[in-house]
C-alpha cells in the first residue's frame, strides 16, 4: 500500500459541500485533544497517537515510507 499524500479525510454519513471541511474537522479535533495539556503531556499524547495509528495502518512498507517523508523535513 503506497503512502497516500493526497487529501484523504472524510467521515461516514457526512456530506461535505466544501473540499476543505473534512481536513479542517480533523485538524480542529487534533488541536482540541491537546487543550489544557502541559508540553510534556502533549508529547506523550502525540506518541500514543502515532503508535495507535501505526498499528491501525499495520503495513510496515507504508509506515517506512511515512517515516521517511516525515524525517525529510526535520
Amino acid at each position: 500500500m503506497a503512502l497516500n499524500l493526497n487529501p484523504n479525510f472524510s467521515e461516514v454519513g457526512k456530506r461535505y459541500f466544501n473540499a476543505y471541511s473534512p481536513g479542517d474537522d480533523f485538524y480542529e479535533m487534533l488541536i482540541n485533544a491537546h487543550r489544557d495539556l502541559s508540553d510534556e503531556q502533549s508529547e506523550l499524547l502525540n506518541a500514543r497517537l502515532i503508535l495507535l495509528l501505526a498499528n491501525h495502518i499495520g503495513d510496515i512498507g507504508t509506515l517506512r515510507e511515512a517515516l521517511n517523508v516525515a524525517r525529510e523535513g526535520v
Binding site: N8, N18, G23, D24, Y27
Partner: protein
Amino acid sequence: MLTTYIYPKFEYRTPPEIASGKTLKVPVVVVGAGPVGLGAALDLEQQGVPVLLLDEDDTVSIGSRGVCYAKRALEILDRYGVGDAVCSKGVSWNVGRTFFREQEVYNFNLVPEPDHHRPGMVNLQQYYLEEYLAARAASRPNIDLRWRNKIVSVAQTGKTVTLKVETEDGFYSVETDWLIAADGARSPIRRMLGLDIEGKIFMDRFLIADVVMKADFPAERWFWFDPPFHPGQSVLLHKQADSVFRIDFQLGWDADPEEAKKPENVLPRIKAMLGAFDGAVDKPAREFELEWVSVYTFQCRRMGSFNHGRVLFVGDAAHQVSPFGARGANSGLQDADNLGWKLKLVLDGKAPEKLLDSYSEERIFAADENLVNSTRSTDFITPKSKASRTFRNAVLGLAKDHAFGRALVNSGRLSVPAFLTTSSLNTPDCAGDTFAGRMVPGAPMDDAPIIENCDAGWLLNKVGKEFVLLCFVDDPKSLDPAVLAVSSAPSARDTAPGSAGGITFADIPLRTVVVSRKPGTVGGGIPTLEDPRGIAAQRYDAKPGTVYLLRPDQHVAARWRSLDAAKVKAAVARATCNA
C-alpha cells in the same frame, strides 16, 4: 492621510415630525445604514415594503474595514442594483501565495469556476460598497433614509415597537410594527433592550495599514507565517481598488496599540515586507504612501436568538466573527436576503409570525458555520500552545511537497453561503426521486448561463424575489401540459390571485420559469430560458420533467422528478410555515 477617497457627506433634513409633533407610524424601521442595513432596506423596498432607514452618522464607513466580497454577496448585490458597480470598481484576484519564514511554500490560482456570472470574490474598500448602496437607497421612493437621526430609546409593547429619535433639531417618536437592528457590533438597540451576545474575545491584536503603491504591484493575496521581517507573527497583504493595498500585521496581545500605530513603527515594517517580496536588498525601496493605520481586536460571538418579539437583529449586531475568511459583511448581506421575503409575507398576512423564527434558525445555523470556520482559521494562524504551533509548522513544512498538507493550510476559508440542509422550511426529496450533485433542499442556488429571447444572461438573474417553480424540459414543445395548467400568466394572477388555474397557496405568488435545452418558448407568458450547453441541467441534475421549487432568496425549497401540483402546494406551505 487618506488621499484616494473623498468621504461623501449625506444631507441631514429636519424630520417633519419635529414641527408637527406627530408620531410617525411605519411598518418597518431599519436602524443602521451600513452595508447590512442598506441591504435590508433595499431588499424590503424591492418586496414593495416602505422602509424608514435611520443612521446616527452622515457618511460611509471610515477607514479600512471590510475588504472582500464573495460570490454569494455579489449575487445578492446584483439584486439590490449595485452588483455591477461593485464588480467594476473592485479588484479581482486569483493568485494566492503562502509563505513560511523565508520561503514561498506554495501558491494557488483560484481560476473562477466557468459559467458563473460572478467571480469567487472581489476586493473593494467598504466605503465604496456603502456609497453605492446609499446612492441606490436614496434613489428609491419607498426608502425614507434619514442621516444624523439617532435612536435614544426603544420599547416593545404588544405588536408595536416605539422609538425615540434624536436629531439636532429635537426629538420625535416613531411607532413601527417591526424593527430591524443593523446597528453594528456594539448595537445600541441590543444594549437598550438588555439583550446578551455571547462568545469570546481573541487575545490578539492586528495592525491594519493601507498603503498606496507608486508602481505596479501584482493583484495577488500573500499570506506570511512567521516571516523574517515580522518574526513569530503573521502578515496578510491584499490588493483593493485605486492601487491601495491592505496589510494586516498580527501584533500579539501584549503590543501597545498606540505605539504600534505610530508611523515610525509602521513604516519600517512595511519596508521590510516589501523588501522581502523583492527578494533583493540592493534594489531601490519601493515607493508607497501610507493611507490609513489602525489597530483592532476581534470577538467571536452571537446572540442566542436573532429575533426578539418584533425586533430582528442582522449583521454584526447579531453575530461577529474573526476577519479571516471575510464572513462579516458577506454573512450580513445573507441575513438581509433571508429576512426580506419572510417579513414581507408576514406583513401581508400570508405567513404566520413563526416564519420569522426560521430567519433566526437559518441564520444561526449559518452564523455557527461562520464561527467554526473563522475560529479554525484564527487557531491555525495564531496557535495558542506549543503543541498547536508545532502542528501548524509541520503542516506548512509538508505543504511544500504534499497535496494533503496544502489542503490543511488554513489562512482563511473564503466565505461561501451555508447549505441550509437542516431547515424546517425544506421539503425532503420523495423516496424514489434520486438526485446527484449539490442542489439539495436548502442549498443556495448555483448559477448557470442561459439565453432568454436571444439575449445571453444568467439563471440567478431570472429567479428570486418570489417563489419560483423551475421546470426543466428538453424542448419547449414537449412541456408537460400540467406545467401550463398550474402556471397562470402573471397578468391573470395579479388581477385575480389563484383564479386562473395557477398554483397559489394563501395567495403566495409562485412564478413559473422553464429551462429548456432546445430553443423556443412555451407561451402563456411563461419565461423560457434556453440552456444551450446543458450546464443548468447538469448543475441541478435535471432531466426533462424535473421541477425545483425555489425560495425568494434563491435557496432550493424542494424538487421532484415530475410535477405534482398538490406536492408543490404542500412545499410552498411548508416553506412559509403555513403547513
